[in-house]
Amino acid sequence: MSTVERAPLLEIRDLHVALPKGSERPYAVQGVDADLAPGEILCIVGESGSGKSLMSRAVMGLLPKPHVHVSQGHIAFGGEDLVTIPDTRMRQIRGSDISMIFQEPMTALNPVMTIGEQIDEVFRFHEKMSRRERRERAVGLLADVQLPDPVASMSAYPHELSGGQRQRAMIAMALALDPKILIADEPTTALDVTTQAQILRLIKEMQEKHDTGVLFITHDFGVVADIADRVAVMQGGVMVETGTAAEVLNDPQHPYTRRLIEAVPALTPRPPRVQAAEPVLEVKNLTKTFRSGGGFLGFGGKERIVHAAKDVTLELRKGETLGIVGESGSGKSTVARCIVRLVDAEAGEILLGGTDLRPLGRAEMRPHRSRIQMVFQDPYASLNPRTKVGAIIAQGPIIQGMPRREAEAKTRDLLKVVGLDERAYDRYPHEFSGGQRQRIGIARALVLGPDVLVADEPVSALDVSIQAQILELLDEIRERMTLSMIFITHDLRVAAQVCDRLAVMRHGVVVETGPTAEIFRAPQHEYTRALLDAVPGKAWRAG
């Protein structure tokens, strides 16, 4: 960390980014000062709405003008002020001196151009080189970012690559002209943990090799711990704390930073609770295959077959929380949806209190619905925007035949249980924040008094401090209502906090099951080991 003695690459002084009138606050970024030295990784951490992304866009000159613009302050870069220079000069700087990688490489890459063409464009726009030279440089770059078979990757289209490979291609493009500054806006948020670990390592390697200054925007303190030299914490547009990574992570000064860090779940499994041995729900040899393609009445393209669940066997005991963990595409969500009968499995048994739910038709299933309920991932998509909160919650019992008045009374009770004001009853979902909406979703699932609650990534769309509150609420409710819970998550930190037992899934197969503490202590399957190794910030908050 040679940050101190070298002159900073980028100096941000008293930066104000103004928001349009009528916004929640007048400035997205307010009076921010920051320096970035060559060869340093500065992590800007904050929750959604903290202004961290707009700050990075201001450096790139990519603010959605004229609504959002820099109203005050300077961004000094190589003797120029990026706030005042003309657009033509900014275009020269972008890509050659300062470049950026984005969260979602699929949308940042042009889907109708090959990777090679897109890298070539960068060279063509900024430098004079022969076609052959450009091609050689591009292949070299792809090799640098460790894309398998760089020559073949040149002629691949973005959709032909995996998420991690796409992000590698993006990094290759961003580093094509050897920029002095790389801005990375949540570059690993859309990726699986194991891929995330690889990409973080790659960014660090490339940064060291090219001596690039990196401005790394993230919400994840685990990632910060893995990659940052220095950390700046933002809250509501203001930079509340800066310091070296060790200082901020281990000895946070500002109360907000302390709160954020405390909300990061530790990677120590919860102490196992005493539990009954009798199972409430048993899933035996569940199998589900997805077929796509085929076209009109079977004519047309070739069919594609995906085994989302192969021979999955699980057991949920009374009063326990069973976590199903795995990366995207592992089939964990499909299993959850099969269990609540949103998706029809082809084979196997779903035994709930002795009844096999799998073969039941919709009408036969209806009386069993109240015994098994689901909490969804996206609090913005899981509530009907045109229905009042009260009606959303009360409709369940009304469908099950409860008199309207009784259902209403029960709904009001549950609003209180999940920590919402009773006045929420007559409001629409859009009037609530993400965390509050998730509470509404939980109330909807609980109002029927289920025995089993299936929660599909219930906190992954939430900020870390809200996440902690929701996890606490789920825990409290589970105790109070003697619920058994199936908890789907990709986040091993969360799993360690809530789950008594774990089932690890990969490619539709359960590779390992066992008590959480045991799996964390001595993982048997190599995939489980890889997952545990990839948890960001493992060394920092192991517990």
């Binding site: 949806r337 009968r341 949103l342 919709r362 619905r369 689901m374 009907n384 409709q395 469908i399």
Partner: protein, 277 residues
């Protein structure tokens, strides 16, 4: 509602369109007060220019009052426009909703049927239908609806396709809600905005088709309409320009007003536009 009006009001031309539309509706509603006589009646000297012989907008070759015809014709145009649109939107929503919600072979079949209708040029198809059924108000309404519903069906199908996979719909499934209730109470209210917009624009098209049919002599012979007036005056265009011109202007203004209102509705109901500005 108040908030909706505030959003609608932001689009000035839409408010202008609404004012004009209200005036036209007023004209249609009060036609029998200002022109109590039958518009087909021979009211005086034929081919009188506007302002002469007591004709505000002149008279045609048989001495019928053009102004009276426009006032009474407004009723026909609006009525047919509205009825045809209601039928088309109702049927189109049903087809599109079922196709989008159930998907699979139901979707395949319904959408192939829809495409079949879309391949036939709509105006020629409408002429054909009216010619087969004998010209009358009902047959015109049916003809216009038959050529207009596929657009609605496609739109509604798209909306249903994207909404049926949303988590709030899945939540309804886990509560054991019936399909009919999910379709009508959960999904449909969420795609009303685009349906209202396409419906409002469709009224304008329907009025144009009706005028076109009447112009070709396929209108209901017992009912005065703008298209009929233009058709009757087309041979006299050089000697009595007013017979064609004023009904033509009436059609133009009405269609324009409805389109402006439709645009305004689109701006006010489209959430992506709402966040701008």
């Amino acid at each position: 509602m108040i908030q909706f009006w505030r959003l609608f009001r932001r689009n000035r031309s839409a408010v202008l369109g609404l004012v004009i539309l209200i005036l036209i509706i007023g004209m249609a509603a009060t036609a029998h007060l200002f022109f109590p006589e039958d518009p087909f009646r021979l009211a005086g000297r034929s081919m009188s220019p506007p302002g002469e012989n007591g004709f505000l907008l002149g008279s045609d070759s048989l001495g019928r009052d053009v102004a009276s015809g426009i006032a009474h014709g407004a009723k026909t145009s609006l009525l047919i426009g509205l009825m045809a649109t209601l039928v088309a939107v109702g049927f189109g929503t049903m087809m599109g909703g079922l196709a989008g919600y159930y998907g699979g072979w139901i979707d395949d079949i319904l959408m192939r049927v829809t495409e079949m209708f879309q391949t036939i040029p709509s105006f020629i198809f409408a002429i054909l239908l009216v010619a087969i059924m004998k010209p009358s108000i009902e047959s015109i309404v049916i003809a216009i609806a038959v050529v207009s519903w596929p657009a609605v069906a496609r739109l509604v199908r798209g909306e249903f396709l994207s909404l049926r996979g949303r988590e709030f719909v899945q939540a309804c499934h886990t509560l054991g809600m019936s399909d009919a209730r999910i379709i009508l109470r959960e999904i449909l209210p969420n795609c009303l905005s685009p349906i209202i917009v396409i419906g409002s624009l469709m009224v304008a098209t329907a009025i144009l088709i009706e005028s076109g049919l009447a112009f070709l002599g396929l209108g209901d012979p017992n009912i005065m309409s703008w298209g009929f007036q233009i058709g009757a005056g087309r041979t006299l265009l050089r000697s009595a320009w007013w017979v064609c011109t004023f009904p033509g202007i009436a059609i133009l203004i009405t269609v324009l007003a409805i389109n402006l209102v439709g645009e305004g509705l689109n701006d006010a109901l489209n959430p992506r536009l709402r966040e701008r500005a």
